[in-house]
């Protein structure tokens, strides 16, 4: 199966094409440097993203911004957002406080990115 990937390593934005069979990468073409090759391999095996969103704060209409402590699998983003949306915190909260640990069974936690008193 052919897959198209755009490298985000630099503004060149090289367009790469990969040949993948049964989860095995047969070839990657179109990169101009090793950053692109490595990125394509990651994207083709387990693509990961940082997720940032907002959590309800009890007694306030203003939400608390949060992020994952590490990138999580792309396929789990919407499950992760659902868990975040279901959550509600009670102040005070400091930057870095864990709001949800091991979100969606990943290794990453959801942590606060702002203080709330």
């Amino acid at each position: 199966m052919r897959k198209e990937i755009t490298c985000i390593g630099c503004p060149m934005g090289c367009r790469m094409t990969a040949e993948v069979e049964d989860g095995k990468i047969l070839s990657v073409e179109g990169y101009s440097c090793n950053v692109g090759k490595k990125y394509a391999q990651e994207e083709l095996t387990v693509p990961k993203r940082m997720v940032t969103s907002l959590v309800h704060v009890r007694g306030s209409s203003r939400p608390l911004p949060v992020r994952t402590s590490a990138p999580i699998e792309k396929s789990k983003i919407f499950d992760c957002l659902r868990e975040i949306r279901a959550c509600e915190i009670t102040p005070p909260v400091k930057i870095g406080d864990v709001i949800i640990s091991r979100v969606c069974g990943t290794q990453a936690d959801i942590v606060a990115t702002r203080e709330v008193f």
């Binding site: 755009t6 985000i8 630099c10 503004p11 993203r49 940032t52 203003r62 990115t113 702002r114 203080e115």
Partner: protein, 420 residues
């Protein structure tokens, strides 16, 4: 009238970094005035990650990046006043501000640092025909509603303009449960970062329609839909017969930023028509002695890291000015932008003030591949560097060393240009 050594207008990343660096240089009489209720500037609402890679070598969100500087300001006990709007600055550096708590205040500052940031280009600047209904916001306003106030502006969204804020908002609205139909861009390329196109649009299957624009807006009270048409890449005129109607309740505009220089003008600061910001020299001093400018009010940056760097310099130089040690020796050499260069900053260098390197920044006017950037004095090339690609989305920053500046001494002007 209170006196202060350095008065900083704006408590965003530029104002904060300027304050911290002025303090670290030895200044003990600093005051930051900020019109919003908290420090941090626009970063308060930028809850996504991707800040501080250059400065802290980790990927922070906007509020986390701002907090690093706010913590320093608190640690150093640098005075600041929030909810305080600066109304006037004179050439003599008398600053007038108003606030709920303190009423009208006047300060005599030995030096002023302008750090007011920028604002977004509104709908009026675009002249899109159609109804004046609700449901049309700039992307930054929508960002503020969602991320700070917890209010969703709509459910079915179109985005006009592919600037970074629009791209970031496409993903945010998707995360919050809205449907984003498409991002429409007039130019044949996006002015946003590649990373944002991939991670904010491609990841969620949101189409990017290049060479397209909105030609009509429908809806009396609330937006009901927009008509999008393809444009001729040469003339930028819509091509008849290519119109498509999209039903939507929200249109977000991400069509550029304008430095907010009303105050600078009141102080008599000369404004560059190329950047929309003040004209400055290598010390970031404006045409009015003792008034400095840095951050987005000087020129629109894409990365906050460079804002902080620039502001650190402004803080240091402002304190040198206060101490009477800011040497501006030698002739003024104007810097002009040649082919492919939009708004080079600084606009002026002093030939004899060498010793420390000068950062020259500008935005490429178009997309150039395998290009060379050169700096020359009356036809003699003093510096050149090759680039695989230059795009308007990424500001170019050149470090000109003292040796280059000494070779430029005596020149009538320096020209920076792209050769592609």
């Amino acid at each position: 009238m209170r006196t202060v050594d350095i008065l900083i207008v704006g408590g965003g990343p530029a104002g904060l970094a300027a304050a911290v660096s002025a303090y670290e240089s030895g200044c003990r009489s600093i005051l930051i005035l900020e019109r919003e209720e908290a420090l941090g500037g626009i970063l308060k609402q930028c809850i996504h990650n991707g800040f501080g890679l250059h400065t802290f070598h980790e990927e922070l969100t906007g509020p986390e990046y701002a907090q690093k500087y706010i913590d320093k300001v608190v640690e150093y006990q640098i005075p600041y006043q929030c909810c305080t709007m600066v109304l006037d600055i004179t050439e003599e550096r008398v600053v007038t501000a108003v606030s709920n708590v303190n009423g009208l205040q006047q300060f005599q500052a030995k030096s002023v640092i302008l750090a007011m940031g920028c604002r977004e280009r509104p709908r009026g600047a675009l002249a899109i025909p159609g109804w004046r209904c609700s449901g049309i916001y700039t992307a930054g306003t929508a960002q503020k509603f969602v991320n700070l106030e917890g209010i969703m502006p709509g459910k079915k969204v179109m985005i006009l303009g592919s600037g970074d804020i629009g791209l970031i908002m496409a993903r945010r609205m998707t995360f919050m449960g809205a449907k984003v139909l498409a991002c429409v861009e007039l130019l044949p390329y996006s002015s946003g970062l590649k990373r944002n196109i991939v991670q904010c649009l491609d990841d969620y299957g949101i189409p990017l329609l290049l060479n397209h624009t909105v030609v009509d807006i429908s809806g009396r009270e609330r937006l009901e839909g927009v008509t999008v048409a393809e444009v001729d890449p040469e003339t930028k005129q819509p091509i008849p017969g290519t119109e498509t109607y999209y039903e939507c309740d929200t249109l977000l505009l991400s069509v550029g930023l304008i430095p907010e220089n009303e105050l600078s003008k009141l102080a008599g600061v000369k404004i560059s028509s190329a950047t929309g910001g003040a004209e400055v020299d290598e010390n970031l001093e404006t045409s009015v002695p003792g008034i400095f400018s840095c951050g987005n009010v000087l020129h629109v940056h894409d990365l906050v890291d460079f804002v902080s760097q620039e502001a650190e310099k402004a803080g240091k130089k402002a304190f040198q000015f206060v101490q009477g040690q800011l040497a501006e020796n030698g002739a003024r050499i104007p810097v002009t932008g040649g082919f492919g260069v939009a708004g080079a900053v600084p606009q002026v260098l002093h030939a004899g003030s060498g010793g420390s390197p000068v950062t020259l920044m500008f935005r490429p006017k178009g997309v150039y591949r395998n290009a060379k950037i050169s700096v020359s004095a009356e036809g003699t090339e003093l510096y050149s560097r090759k680039y695989r690609i230059l795009t308007p989305g990424e500001m170019v920053s050149l470090e000109l060393g003292p040796d280059l500046l000494s070779r430029a001494a005596g020149a009538k002007e320096l020209t920076v240009k792209v050769e592609a």
